[in-house]
């Protein structure tokens, strides 16, 4: 087996482990830190089902962002929806047989790459052009955008410029599942694409990219507006009460 194949395979195993464990750790942490007070941003739903809908609107349509800034909303939608379609299309490399919906999404998924890249470039441009956004931008914000743009460009190029040996790539990925390594095509664009994706997966749980998880745990969005009807007390706060009573 070539050095390249083994290296990339090892990188992918490591990245997948860090990604999964990192996210699980974050979820565990967010889930176990109590929210001692009812702080839903109102008007807020008064039922759990209402909260589910609110979170769905937030995650699927970026409701609050829409209220805030239409241009930013359009760029964010371009990027995230583009990325979602691209990722969905990528399932064809991971699943055998390929489900029909994935096959049907193939043409959309291919061109969604451009929406994704366009959105990213727009978001990046804001960091230079708007003085307020320039002020809050750290070097890591530029680097993450660069990383995502490069992933998008390298990926799009393997589809639209120099075709990669898809069959061999799929065999390599399938081999990863069963720890039965198959040779990875030595296409430089593909290798760059894969390395960048692995880097993204590794930094994901430790960076602002985690906002995807955080939004579900945001107390201003996920709490039910019923403080008068239902008493809400965190464990550490209950201890204050018990100390006094004992």
């Amino acid at each position: 087996m070539s050095f390249l194949t083994v290296t990339i395979a090892a990188l992918f195993y490591a990245a997948a482990a860090i990604f999964l464990l990192g996210i699980l750790y974050r979820i565990w942490r967010y889930a176990t830190v109590p929210a001692p007070l009812k702080i839903a941003t109102t008007p807020a739903p008064t039922t759990k089902f209402g909260v589910v809908l609110r979170l769905f609107r937030e995650v699927a349509f970026f409701e609050s962002l829409f209220k805030s800034n239409k241009l930013l909303w359009i760029l964010a939608i371009l990027f995230h929806y583009g990325l979602a379609l691209v990722l969905f299309r990528h399932l064809r490399y991971f699943l055998e047989p390929v489900p029909t919906v994935v096959t049907l999404a193939q043409p959309f998924g291919k061109y969604a790459a451009f929406a994704m890249i366009l959105g990213l470039l727009g978001l990046w441009a804001r960091r230079f052009l708007i003085d307020r956004v320039r002020y809050i931008t750290a070097p890591s914000d530029h680097l993450m955008l660069a990383l995502l743009v490069l992933i998008g460009l390298s990926g799009a190029m393997t589809t639209f410029v120099t075709h990669t040996d898809i069959v061999a790539l799929k065999a390599f990925i399938q081999g990863l599942y069963t720890f039965d390594l198959k040779p990875l095509p030595g296409d430089p664009l593909l290798v760059i694409h894969l390395i960048l994706v692995a880097v993204l997966a590794i930094i994901f749980p430790y960076s602002k990219l985690l906002h995807g998880v955080g939004v579900f745990f945001s107390p201003t969005r996920n709490m039910v507006d019923n403080p008068r009807e239902q008493r809400h007390v965190a464990n550490w706060a209950r201890k204050l009460e018990q100390q006094e009573n004992s």
Partner: protein, 511 residues
């Protein structure tokens, strides 16, 4: 107009987003609390030698206690959606008054001490060590946030700068760095019973005076009872209602409504304060201690219901936190929410038809309504989401013929803070208060130019005090600010009102 050592912004009716002017408000530092006042709240009086370690330790403690703090520090992607939403940024142009930048003052330190990236690559992710300069920025800029939650409406993750601001103040208090205004006031509540330090005899005197005023005015004996055991309702209201203008006119209105509704009620000299500044300093323990006073007063007086007067952040603590902090309230009448807002009470009575109004009594005004930030974005009234917007408007419309709203985007959930909330209603922050009021003043000007608005009604003691002080800077008159229940008080027809006049007239006729 008062003399100023700063430039009062010009209002046009439309609030433009300014170009950033770094550090334009860096000079503004509110007075610090003296050691005695810090210690009274359970905080160290002076900064300890190892204050940095203590501050980081406090931050670690809050990260374990408040999910909001942990999630909000992690989730921000610096998208900039909030950057043009804060009234203090819009009024001062200081970029550290942009919500994300205000959060970053703390987030940068969090990253340095609590995240892998910040430990190993601080420059890359903008993480910094805690230094005296950083602490100085914390103190100045976390006392330039009124915890109004406008940013949290527009943040795609619901990040609420108020939560960060409260945590920052708590961290600073724990290393002996507290602000004078909030901490002295909390001390007064513990010692005397209210923010203004009014003792029981002064309260009794004031209420007696109110009874006389209402009697002179209407010929009807409306009672303003204090510490009456066995009353049905305990009214908890901000202490400014006892003497400040236009607050006291609102208090007169509450009394008239209770009188006409035929319910017995009382104020408490022990819990003679609705406000809870424990929230402003982010201290769960102090907020709880203040809240427990209300529970004790309700138990001692044997009341069945608790009603809160017009006060914004007080209503937040009452509506959203009181049950948590001082509940359960199973000793009260389960047929009513605990607590109730006076606007909920009045609106219920209006719907029942127990109140009679002469709306023409308010015909000299064209009224608009300022949604108080904490009522709008942290509470509810009635059963339905958004009742906090509708019910006060319904009450106003029931007693006034001329009502108009200010422009969209400046009211309801997008309302602008008055500029004095969150523990900033102190003269040493006057520059911030004036500049922070600019977006609201722009909206008021727009409504004035377009609809001839003459008065702005509010349901918050801080809003009323802030506006009466600040609107003269913008060419308005302080009398233009009214309490919602002042409007009710003007229009309500008390049972028996006018009868005496007729008696007098007929007596005169007979003579």
């Amino acid at each position: 107009m008062a003399k100023t050592n700063f430039e009062v912004p010009e209002i046009t009716g439309v609030t433009e987003v300014p170009k950033i002017q770094p550090d334009s408000m860096a000079h503004l530092e509110t007075f610090r609390a003296k050691p005695d006042f810090m210690e009274a709240l359970g905080f160290p009086g002076e900064m300890p030698e190892n204050w940095k370690e203590k501050a980081i330790e406090a931050m670690g403690d809050l990260l374990k206690k408040y999910r909001s703090f942990q999630v909000f520090l992690d989730a921000c992607v610096k998208c900039g959606a909030c950057t043009d939403k804060c009234h203090y940024f819009l009024g001062t142009a200081d970029p550290k008054n942009m919500p994300v930048a205000r959060q970053d003052l703390l987030r940068k330190v969090y990253r340095r001490y609590f995240t892998l990236a910040g430990k190993f690559f601080p420059k890359l992710v903008g993480a910094i060590d805690l230094t005296e300069e950083v602490l100085h920025d914390w103190y100045n800029y976390y006392h330039q946030c009124s915890q109004c939650r406008r940013c949290s409406v527009f943040c795609p993750y619901g990040i609420d700068t108020a939560e960060i601001s409260m945590a920052a103040r708590e961290i600073m208090d724990r290393i002996g760095v507290g602000d004078k205004y909030c901490n002295e006031i909390i001390g007064k509540v513990f010692r005397i019973g209210n923010n203004l330090g009014l003792p029981e005899p002064a309260l009794a005197d004031t209420l007696e005076g109110l009874e006389e005023d209402v009697y002179d005015d209407t010929g009807v004996k409306v009672r303003y009872p204090l510490d009456e055991k066995g009353a049905e309702i305990l009214l908890v209201t901000p202490s400014a209602d006892f003497f400040a203008e236009p607050h006291v006119d609102g208090l007169m209105g509450y009394g008239k409504v209770f009188h006409e509704a035929g319910v017995s009620w009382t104020l408490s000299s022990y819990a003679s304060e609705a406000a809870n500044f424990g929230m402003f300093i982010g201290s769960y323990e102090n907020m709880r201690r203040v809240s427990l006073r209300i529970r004790k007063a309700a138990l001692d007086l044997g009341v069945k219901r608790i009603v809160f007067g017009e006060c914004g952040h007080a209503w937040r603590v009452a509506y959203a936190f009181l049950n948590t902090l001082a509940g359960p309230f199973d000793f009260l009448d389960p047929n009513y929410p605990v607590p109730q807002h006076i606007c909920e009470f009045t609106w219920n009575e209006i719907q029942k038809g127990t109140l009679k109004f002469d709306k023409s009594a308010n015909d000299d005004m064209v009224v608009t309504f300022h949604d108080s930030c904490n009522v709008a974005r942290a509470t509810r009234m009635g059963d339905k989401p958004g009742g906090q917007f509708e019910i006060p408007r319904n009450v106003i419309k029931a007693v006034c013929n001329n009502y108009v709203d200010m422009p969209e985007g400046t009211i309801r959930e997008a309302t602008f803070c008055c500029g004095g909330g969150g523990g900033l209603l102190t003269d040493d922050l006057m520059e911030l208060r004036v500049k922070g009021a600019k977006p609201r003043m722009d909206a008021l000007k727009a409504a004035t130019d377009e609809h001839g608005v003459t008065h702005m009604a509010a349901i918050c003691a801080i809003c009323k005090s802030q506006f009466t002080k600040v609107i003269p800077y913008y060419g308005f008159d302080m009398d233009q600010i009214v309490s919602v229940h002042q409007l009710v008080s003007n229009a309500i027809i008390l049972t028996g009102q006018g009868e005496n006049d007729e008696d007098e007239e007929s007596a005169e006729d007979a003579a």
